[in-house]
Amino acid sequence: MINLDFFIFLSSGLFLGWSLGSNDAANIFGTAVTSRMLRFRTAAILCAIFVIIGAVISGAGASHGLGKLGAVNALAGSFTVALSAGLTVYTMTKWGLPVSTTQAVVGGIIGWNLFSDSPTDMASLSQIAGTWVASPILGALFAWFIYLGLNSLINLVKPHLLWLDHWTRLGLVLAGVFGAYSLGANNIGNVMGVFVSSSPLQEIQIGELFSLSGPQRLFLWGVSQSLWGCFFRGRL
């Protein structure tokens, strides 16, 4: 039997998940929807499906990474970290600023470590901070090479305008799907990761073939709120 307290504490994680959905979903399908190449409904459905798949299949990896940063093994600590991160993301989103959920969660964990006089693993922190420097550089390099490659390919093949439009639309869908999967795998893990060590959720069996582990059930809760944020705010 799961204690009701757990769900009260989990509410801050769900709030962070909601903030994540309303902020980050825009990064995935925003271009395709605002340029009217994809309908909102299509984008939202694809987003929902692949965020869930990403969170359930690969969500654990990111949560392990954050888990090394500091021991947030009390439910109250997880609640505080998620609430502070959720408020940060929500406020930034309100101001129209794109914000990193990971940075907000890392800030929350460090704050909790300072409050509870727990050690912060500096090696993990520098590794995580390193990804913040590397991510935009890698993103820029990927964008540059992909742009050059596609541009050369288009100049070589000279596709008909209609086919170019067709493939562009398909490319936007694939990129969005990939982005949604990554959102589920990376960010949902970050959002719910702080609850993993204090979660009482156990593995459950669905039918004969499938089972969901405790962390996966946790990530599904996070995803549900994230999707609610993305649909409710309607700002993919």
């Binding site: 340029s35 009217r36 190449m37 994809l38 309908r39 409904r41 299509t42 459905i45 694809l46 000279k158 596709p159 008909h160 305008l161 209609l162 086919w163 439009d165 067709h166 562009t168 639309r169 398909l170 869908v173």
Partner: protein, 219 residues
């Protein structure tokens, strides 16, 4: 079931063939107009001219229906909105060219203007340049769909034909108004020459617009 808003392959194929057919229709309408006008100048309004008028009229109605269908499909199922607007505007301009040719040739059939015999060769040259401008506009349009950077190679040919048509048109008008014809005949011939000149002008304007569409796609 979700309605995925990217076109299935068959819609793209059908639309591509419809655009191809539309451009073919404009192209053959230009040929029919040129042949019809030359036939009228050489032998008067006989069977050949009547036959060409029927052809041009059928091309006009086919062009109209194709343009309407292409426009609907473009806006409902395909293309970045900005590009769709450019494509539709281009097709609309080309369709307008066919309408003008059809309108003018119908007028020729009704009014039967009496062009002076000594001007026939120059008028044929005049028509040839006007039709050349229109033909290169169609060629440039075909290129736009595949290789926008190569469009400008056709644009200067459109300009050349339009400028030549304008020079010949002015020379013809001077020659007619300096001639010993009644004023009403002079005015009548002037109207028809202006109709032909308008075709070259509109082809030139379409070419200019096309150059901008091509730059937008190349950026």
């Amino acid at each position: 079931m979700a309605d995925f808003n990217f076109s299935p392959f068959h819609t793209t194929r059908i639309l591509q063939s419809e655009i191809q057919e539309f451009l073919d229709t404009v192209s053959v309408a230009v040929l029919a107009y040129q042949e019809g006008m030359v036939a009228y100048l050489k032998e008067g309004w006989l069977e050949t001219s009547e036959e060409k008028l029927q052809q041009i009229s059928s091309y006009e109605s086919r062009g109209d229906s194709l343009r309407t269908h292409i426009g609907l499909t473009l806006y409902t199922e395909m293309l970045l909105p900005d590009t769709a607007a450019d494509v539709l505007s281009l097709l609309s301009d080309l369709d307008h060219l066919v309408d003008r040719m059809s309108g003018h040739f119908t007028l020729v059939g009704i009014e039967k203007p009496e062009f002076p015999d000594d001007c026939s060769v120059v008028i044929i040259d005049f028509i040839s340049h006007a039709c050349g401008a229109m033909d290169h506009t169609v060629t440039a349009s075909r290129i736009y769909f595949r290789d926008p950077k190569a469009v400008h190679e056709q644009i200067h040919k459109i300009h050349y034909h339009e400028q030549e048509a304008e020079k010949i048109g002015i020379r013809l008008l001077k020659s007619i108004f300096n001639g010993n014809y009644p004023l009403e005949r002079k005015c009548h011939l002037r109207d028809h020459l202006l109709h032909i000149d308008q075709l070259a002008n509109q082809a030139d304007e379409t070419g200019d617009a096309l150059a901008i569409y091509a730059v937008k796609r190349s950026v």
